[in-house]
């Protein structure tokens, strides 16, 4: 057997360190709360309401991203135009902006001092401290993940399939719904999961726009501040379980995808 080089042992060591770094805190947190505390948290109406709200708002953010993001992703995947890079960097902006800044930025448009905020107020739409506000923030931070995933999906579909479809008599709409959409749905599904996973984890921006109604991350923060680590852990466990479930679905889907190709 060939003796492994030092390089090999360095790569292995780094891998072990990183896995431990990720897994240790998570395992510790997941195993810390006793079963009775978990059950108590499960029966706590406030906790479950906050988790339900988290899922609901994140799901809505993903739905909005799906409706408005899909055409944009298609546009970016199929067209080259001057300023395309610029548009793409704008779409990536929410990923790099610090989260509280996102909250502040949204409030500065939705507030009373801005005409959009005044218009919303007249229409009876409230951003500050409302579910609408939470969904707005979550869409803001989740959109880039959806658009990038779906753009990649569209790019992987040969434009020739659409060309053939059109030469056979299909309009652009028919072509999109009969060819492009069925072939891209998996990437859309992955985009929805990425987007909602990102949205569920948002705290910094939401806490500025809407402390109440309380989503799960805010609830965890409040329990931690008010009662200490021990009381925040059970809520965190429930939230993390949901995130893991989402991630698991994502992995299974991408793995199955690879096998087909």
């Amino acid at each position: 057997m060939v003796k492994k080089e030092l390089f090999f042992w360095i790569t292995i060591s780094c891998a072990i360190i990183i896995l431990a770094f990720i897994l240790l805190p998570l395992i510790e947190m997941l195993t810390a709360p006793s079963f009775s505390m978990l059950k108590e948290a499960f029966n706590d109406k406030d906790v479950m309401r906050s988790i339900r709200l988290s899922i609901y708002t994140a799901g809505l953010a993903a739905l909005i991203s799906f409706i408005f993001g899909t055409p944009l992703a298609y546009l970016l995947a199929r067209n080259d135009f001057i300023g395309k890079r610029f548009v793409e960097s704008i779409i990536d902006l929410p990923i790099v902006i610090p989260h509280p800044v996102v909250g502040i930025a949204i409030l500065s448009v939705a507030g009373k001092n801005h005409w959009i905020g005044q218009l919303f107020a007249e229409l009876g739409i409230r951003i500050m401290g409302s579910v609408t506000g939470i969904v707005t923030v979550l869409t803001f931070v989740g959109l880039p993940f959806y658009i990038n995933a779906v753009k990649n999906g569209f790019e992987s579909i040969s434009p020739r399939l659409e060309n053939v479809s059109r030469s056979l008599g299909a309009s652009m709409f028919s072509t999109f719904f009969r060819i492009t959409f069925p072939l891209a749905w998996r990437s859309m599904f992955i985009g929805i999961i990425m987007c909602s996973a990102r949205a569920i984890s948002e705290f910094g921006a939401v806490v500025i726009v809407a402390y109440h109604p309380m989503i799960a991350p805010v609830m965890i923060y409040e329990r931690f501040e008010g009662y200490g680590l021990k009381y925040s852990q059970p809520v965190a466990v429930w939230l993390v379980s949901i995130c893991l479930a989402l991630f698991l679905i994502l992995r299974i889907l991408t793995l199955r995808n690879r096998k087909e190709i």
């Binding site: 020739r160 060309n163 053939v164 030469s167 056979l168 008599g169 299909a170 309009s171 069925p182 072939l183």
Partner: protein, 345 residues
């Protein structure tokens, strides 16, 4: 049937300039040229998939320049088949029926006929992913023909295929063209494919059309160095004409006719240059002797390079005559060619 007039296209790095092309009804027209010449772009422009910057395109005497692809009545078949991967072979073939007003009974008859001609019966329930290249291309042809298009555009339909399948699809194309009244316009970079299929052809290079004409015209009478080289005229010389002779430096070559310019090129196909050990006392007007510089194995043939007065001639001979003559590098050899084998332009 198809009339392309003064078409200019700019698309990324491709620029097509002043393209003029006319394809007659029921014709098998081939667009030849090397990779990157702009053949596919022109094909896609005719299909309406690439916009023209200038010029007009007529199909069936109708100006379609501004028409969307689905209204033009052309089917396109790509080199990579472009079958819909999520649909079965049957669904692929029937795809176009969703958008055409075709009587069900007639559609069914046509479906059965195409499935029979293209031998697809056993594949109908399969997905394209699991088919061979030849099978994929047969499905793509069936799908394109299913809508009974007046015009079929074929983008290198044979290039991605193994030699066996290539022959098969070539014969199928020939049969389909003979037995239908569909006009075929095929793009290829392969001269052999063009020769076996086309009635007429155009040679494209670097965004322009170099020559249009019957296959034999292009093969026998190339009008530029590029076309000559493209059709395999290995012996291409820059010459001065004087009466009925052409001179390459000190070498005088008898043309047997008077060209209309004083300077130009002559081209001789390598298979037209005959080799012999002794100088031939035959009717060939051009008989020379030179030295064999190098011998290249070309499969069924040997390509022999002969040098005379610093001019290199290339001749193709069969393996058999190669061994019979005992040819080796460095030996002296006589060679000759008829004046009628010389093309000048």
């Amino acid at each position: 049937m198809i009339r392309v007039e003064d078409v200019n296209i700019h698309l990324g790095e491709f620029t097509l300039r002043d393209i003029n092309l006319a394809v007659d009804k029921n014709e098998f027209f081939v667009l030849m040229g090397p990779t990157g010449a702009g053949k596919t772009v022109l094909l896609e422009a005719i299909a309406g998939l690439v916009p023209c910057k200038r010029g007009t395109i007529h199909i069936r005497d109708k100006n379609v320049t501004k028409m969307p692809p689905e209204k033009r009545g052309v089917s396109i078949v790509y080199q990579d088949y472009a079958l819909f991967p999520h649909l079965t072979v049957r669904k692929n073939i029937e795809y176009g029926l969703h958008f055409q007003k075709i009587d069900r009974g007639e559609a069914g008859k046509r479906f059965n006929r195409l499935v029979e001609i293209l031998d697809l019966g056993h594949l109908l329930k399969r997905l394209p992913l699991n088919l061979s290249g030849g099978e994929n291309q047969r499905v793509a042809l069936a799908r394109a023909l299913m809508v009974n298009p007046p015009v079929m555009l074929l983008d290198e339909p044979l290039s991605a295929l193994d030699p066996g399948f290539r022959e098969e699809i070539r014969n199928i194309l020939k049969g389909l063209h003979t037995n239908s009244n569909v006009t075929f316009l095929m793009v290829t970079h392969d001269f052999a494919d063009a020769l076996s299929l086309a009635d007429r052809a155009a040679v494209m290079n670097d965004g322009i059309i170099e020559q249009t004409g019957s296959m034999s015209d292009i093969f026998q009478r190339p009008n530029s160095t590029f076309v000559a080289d493209f059709v395999g005229m290995k012996n291409l010389f820059d010459v001065d004409f004087n009466g009925t002779t052409a001179s390459i430096g000190e070498l005088q070559i008898e043309l047997g006719r008077i060209p209309d310019n004083s300077h130009g090129y002559i081209a001789i196909r390598p298979e037209e240059i005959v080799l012999s050990k002794e100088r031939l006392a035959s009717s060939m007007q051009n008989s020379f002797a030179g030295t064999i510089r190098c011998v290249n194995d070309r499969g069924f043939f040997y390509e022999i390079e002969i040098v005379l007065n610093n001019v290199t001639f290339r001749s193709l001979i069969t393996k058999r005559s190669f061994f019979e003559m005992g040819i080796s590098e460095g030996m002296d050899i006589a060679f000759a060619f008829k004046s009628t084998a010389i093309h000048y332009f």
